[in-house]
């Protein structure tokens, strides 16, 4: 079992236009990427559960091999920067992903990591 923050070199979130926030989990090497992708544990359903949203708000969930990345995009409840909105660039929404556990993958911690 390993946490995403141990498996990924980048975990980030950012606006994709004014109505959506996109999340990128970029894995630290091809082997880890392949293992997580094949584990079937990082899924649209799990992401929706984590963020407490219905499937209609998850507009895209995709594996992007060239970047060793799993990427998904959610719709905001209201456009960025509207009154009441909390993160105008959507740049801190990735935090709950850091501790997400992937059971099928075990990684020896890198000494330098």
């Amino acid at each position: 079992m390993a946490r995403l923050c141990e498996l990924a070199s980048t975990i980030r979130s950012k606006n994709a236009g004014p109505d959506c926030i996109t999340f990128d989990v970029i894995f630290r090497d091809d082997e880890v990427y392949r293992q997580v992708k094949n584990s079937g544990e990082l899924t649209p359903e799990r992401v929706c559960r984590l963020y407490g949203i219905g499937p209609e708000r998850l507009v895209r969930f995709v594996a992007f091999d060239p970047a060793r990345a799993i990427k998904f995009t959610i719709r905001r409840s209201r456009p960025s920067g509207s009154p009441g909105e909390t993160d105008v660039m959507g740049s801190q929404m990735y935090a709950p992903l850091l501790e997400l556990e992937v059971r099928a993958v075990t990684v020896k911690p890198k000494a330098a990591a």
Partner: protein, 472 residues
């Protein structure tokens, strides 16, 4: 589009037709958002030494929220905008190469184009630079004209789950721009512009225009622009405002950082290709999309990566994106702190009390109070999975919106001060249930919202834009 008719006068590399199949074109990208924070000068001048054929930068983004567009104000300090323009202008004029700036002054509104053009005139005077042609491309949209287009049955589509454009959307809008594709910029270059100051633009189009003029294909031109548009974000380690050189050949682009400490690796370039977008395989632009599904990223050496395999797919409908923002009301803030654990566990009751008291005086349309509870879900709001409060103190930022400034201040004050008087059973601290940073309401910018995030079909790629030339 009314244009000043001027004879074409090719002079610089971008103006010359390509002479050989092997011809490469070098683009220098010094910043992903001109003026947002200043360009790093060392890597910029290192890039200039490599003799690029054009210097290109965009200066806008919808990332900064709806306020700058709605209020038509810059989001960047004027001194930083001038700093960046001075670097690019002096370097490009000395080298005799075009400079292309898009989405002028954050918003890409006519104001931004005029202000940047005035800065260029001023810089030309100060540096004694003359003998160049400047193109200004305007992208502000008249809301009445858009409404007329709708009534005439123009095809529109809402993006990201929005419905088709309605007249009600336009009524809520204070300011709107159209986001230009490559054609207006290409038209400016074809008419001999040495300096292009463009309104709101698709970032990749700014880079694609000189490439197309130079004879490169659309397959590679837009993709090269996509990879270069955020400058050093395509390199690692993470850094902004460092220059990147893109050397574009017939079917690929080599990316090379101009800072000494960065590298463009296959992973860093590929991860940038999917940055800030929901679809990593397609980049949509007016008239079509870049298909990136077959792209290949290969290391040339430790610091350079070559990307290739992109394809331009034209679509039958030429549609241009509209961005618009409108004012919701005036806004004021109050900062409230809470330390008593008994009150923290009942923070929702405190908010309910504040809402009740605010509602008693301001129960009319146009009045809103939002409670940002830092320590609970102040950053993530409804998306926060952690439900319990784990800290020993919380901060509530009360955000009030009302039709007038005086009403916004009163509403924030009323909602904020009522945390002091929240009626909580079992409260020991009966002298007050909150700490005020200071018992004052902080003025805030007016509240705006994104009203337009749509595309509209047009007959000509140029019809929503207007161009002017100046000889300097």
């Amino acid at each position: 589009m009314p244009e000043t008719e001027l004879a074409s006068r090719p002079r610089t590399a971008a103006h010359r037709p390509r002479t050989a199949e092997t011809d490469v074109f070098k683009l220098l990208s010094p910043t992903g958002h001109l003026g947002f924070t200043p360009i790093e000068e060392a890597s910029f001048w290192a890039g200039v030494k490599r003799q690029p054929d054009a210097i290109v930068a965009d200066s806008g983004s919808c990332d900064i929220g709806p306020h700058p567009l709605g209020a038509d104000e810059p989001a960047s300090p004027r001194t930083w905008q001038e700093h960046d323009l001075e670097l690019i202008f002096t370097a490009s004029r000395r080298a005799g190469i075009p400079m292309i700036i898009g989405s002028a002054s954050d918003t890409g509104t006519d104001r931004g184009v005029r202000e940047f053009a005035a800065m260029i005139r001023d810089l030309a005077r100060r540096h004694g630079i003359s003998g160049f042609r400047m193109a200004k491309i305007f992208s502000d949209q008249d809301l009445d004209v858009l409404a007329r287009r709708l009534r005439q049955g123009a095809w529109t589509q809402g993006l990201d789950g929005r419905g088709p454009l309605t007249e009600e959307d336009l009524r809520r809008t204070g300011h709107a721009v159209a986001v230009m594709g490559v054609e207006p910029i290409l038209a400016a270059l074809k008419q001999g512009a040495d300096v292009v100051i463009a309104g709101r633009s698709c970032d990749p189009a700014l880079f694609a225009a000189p490439l197309l003029l130079h004879g490169h294909s659309r397959d590679i031109a837009y993709y090269a622009g996509k990879l270069l548009e955020c400058a050093s974000f395509c390199a690692e380690p993470f850094a902004g405002k460092e220059s990147i050189l893109g050397t574009v050949d017939r079917d690929g682009i080599v990316l090379e950082p101009m800072s000494s400490y960065q590298r463009c690796t296959p992973a860093s370039v590929a991860s940038h290709a999917m940055y800030e977008r929901s679809d990593p395989f397609r980049e949509y632009l007016p008239g079509g999309y870049v298909d990136m599904s077959q792209c290949v990223y290969e290391a040339v050496d430790e610091r350079r990566t070559r990307a290739r395999g992109s394809r331009w797919v034209a679509v039958p409908r030429y549609a241009v994106k509209l961005e618009g923002a409108g004012k919701v009301g005036e806004r004021a803030l109050m900062i409230v702190g809470i330390r008593d654990p008994h009150i923290i566990t009942r923070i929702d009751d405190c908010i309910a009390w504040s809402q009740k008291k605010a509602g008693e005086r301001f129960n009319r349309p146009g009045f809103q109070v939002h409670y940002h509870v830092y320590g609970k879900n102040g950053v993530m709001g409804e998306l926060e999975p952690v439900k319990e409060i784990r800290g020993h103190e919380v901060c509530v930022v009360v955000e009030a919106v009302a039709p007038t400034r005086a009403e916004a201040v009163e509403l924030a004050n009323l909602a904020g001060r009522n945390f002091m008087y929240a009626r909580i059973p079992g409260l020991k601290g009966t002298a007050g249930a909150a700490a005020f940073l200071s018992d004052e309401v902080l003025p805030a910018r007016a509240a705006y919202e994104w009203t337009l995030n749509h595309v509209i079909e047009v007959d000509s790629p140029l019809e929503l834009f207007r161009m002017e030339f100046e000889e300097l």
